[in-house]
């Protein structure tokens, strides 16, 4: 069960980034940086994903999509916000159609700095997210064991209830 941190599956969504961070996310998956050596595979299906990579800031049109993808991901899950845009809106923070960073919509576990974020730091973010996944998994297991001990039904896996 603890293998989750050794094979986290990634899903990537471009909220409203300028493509700069997106290309770097893709660069991470290709031979030179090669995220696959950490067991990562990119999937287009939120239901199979463990780590959610988000680039760019949130606006009113893409916020529901972001939330939707996040809600479909099974527990435990981790969110990595990549780039200055995903943190606060970055250079676009003052634009009229930018509502703010990713944290305004879904809980974020790891922030990757940079504009554009470098592939090395994105990889670092993914590895940290994998460690967080492991912690979350452990905590979830403990909670379920405790619940069993107390003779209650194990708590339902909540959607969107990550810390």
């Amino acid at each position: 069960m603890s293998s989750i941190e050794r094979s986290p599956w990634l899903i990537h969504y471009d909220a409203s980034s300028c493509n700069g961070c997106d290309i770097e996310v893709l660069a991470c998956l290709t031979p030179v940086y090669d995220a696959e050596r950490f067991g990562c595979i990119v999937t287009g299906d939120p239901k199979q994903a463990d780590i959610f990579l988000v680039t760019g800031s949130v606006n009113h049109l893409n916020a529901p999509i972001l939330k939707n993808i996040y809600d479909q991901m099974p527990e435990p899950k981790a969110v990595v916000a990549i780039g200055a845009c995903a943190y606060s809106g970055g250079v676009f923070a003052e634009c009229y159609n930018v509502a703010g960073g990713v944290a305004t919509t879904i809980p974020v576990d790891v922030y990757v700095p940079g504009c554009a974020a470098k592939p090395e730091s994105i990889l670092d973010g993914v590895v940290r997210a994998a460690m967080i996944l492991k912690e979350k998994e452990k905590a979830g297991r403990k909670a379920r064991a405790l619940a069993r001990k107390e003779g209650r039904r194990s708590p339902k896996r909540r959607a969107g209830g990550a810390t």
Partner: protein, 369 residues
């Protein structure tokens, strides 16, 4: 057998949503595809997922600082966006940048074109399920990115364009060494393009798909590789902005107008970019790389046109004589290509839709800004 009403019901096109989060699309773009059986009879694009409203930001930023925002219109052609904005503002100010700056701008433009086309080649390969080709092209692309990092200082956002010139001045030796370092990439790309153009599976997916005739492409206002693949000779670089007037190159042309022709154009242009870079490095003049810019831009308006990897782009600036410009507007190549893309989709089968979308090389981020 059935009544007229039922027959109409059965023949009514079904609507298949495509996107905004879709495995082949790195960017969010949504289409409602109207299908008759497997055939696409219409496509209704819906955009707005990455609209930020950065044109209005020009009212809040100093005109010289806005270059940072302009570079982030799109991270793929970031240098060209920054430079296009600078050219428009320089037109307002009535200054001509130093020769070395012109040549360095050309160098970085072509570097960007090469990496953009390679990136496209990888994504297209991924879209039709040729994953090893995707990986191999991106490995070759990293060598180009390394050169960008060494000469301009950034991997994707170069950050080297400023109003009045460029902010980085790589030495002639560095440039020479970089051209040397690009050699393995060029060899790799030659091999990869052979796969892209001659492999039976690739040809099966691309040949005869999404055809646009020369007249139609012109009528619908297509630009860049989309127009040139249909046989229409149109390349803004011919106007000789930056240092393009002083280097020799031939416009890449194809006549078939299908996905394969568009792929062939881009592959030719990669090699062309390297050859232009070589000429630029060989002819690089000495001297300063930027002019000191003082004062405000005078009241007036100006526009600049460049050839981006995806086609012609137009920048328009209007000044009211203060530190902040009054209006900034970009007409991006993808925006000009969308009508032609919708036309190319008509009559295609559902399985070909991702390939057609990818062969216009859409850049949603700059289209929506």
């Amino acid at each position: 057998m059935s009544s007229g009403h039922e027959a109409r019901e059965a023949n009514a096109p079904s609507v298949i949503p495509f996107g905004p989060q879709h495995p082949v699309l790195p960017e969010p773009l949504h289409f409602d595809l109207l299908l008759q059986d497997e055939k696409v009879v219409g496509a209704v694009p819906q955009i707005g997922y990455i609209h930020r409203g950065l044109e209005l930001l020009v009212e809040k930023r100093d005109y010289a600082d806005y270059v940072h925002v302009a570079e982030r219109i799109c991270g793929i052609c970031s240098f060209m966006h920054g430079m296009g904005y600078c050219e428009a503002v320089e037109g307002l100010l009535g200054v001509a940048v130093p020769d070395r700056a012109r040549f360095l701008r050309t160098f970085w433009c072509e570097l960007e074109r090469a990496h953009s086309h390679l990136m496209w080649m990888g994504l297209a390969a991924d879209a039709f399920g040729f994953e090893s080709l995707f990986m191999a092209t991106w490995r070759a692309r990293e060598l180009i990115i390394d050169v960008a990092e060494e000469t301009a200082g950034g991997r994707v956002i170069f950050g080297s364009a400023i109003v009045g010139g460029v902010s980085k001045d790589p030495s002639d030796e560095t440039l020479m060494r970089c051209m040397e370092a690009l050699k393995p990439a060029r060899d790799d790309i030659k091999k990869l393009s052979r796969v892209m153009l001659q492999d039976a599976t690739v040809r099966h997916r691309l040949e005869g798909v999404g055809v646009i005739s020369k007249e139609k492409a012109y009528e619908l206002g297509a630009v860049g590789p989309m127009l040139r693949a249909s046989g229409y000779d149109f390349d803004i670089r011919r106007r000789g902005y930056a240092a393009y007037g002083e280097v020799g190159f031939e416009t890449a042309l194809e006549t078939a107008g299908d996905c394969m022709a568009r792929a062939a154009i881009r592959i030719k242009e990669i090699e062309q970019s390297f050859s232009i870079m070589e000429q630029v490095v060989a002819k690089m003049p000495a001297g300063p790389v930027s002019l000191p810019i003082k004062g405000m831009p005078p009241v007036g308006e100006c526009f600049a046109r460049l050839e981006q990897p995806r086609g012609e782009v137009i920048y328009y600036v209007k000044s009211n004589g203060s530190r902040n410009l009054e209006r900034f507007r970009v007409r991006t190549p993808t925006f000009a290509n969308v009508p032609a893309m919708v036309e190319a989709m008509r009559g295609a089968s559902l399985a070909d839709v991702p390939t057609i979308i990818l062969t216009i090389d859409p850049c949603i981020s700059c289209t929506e800004r």
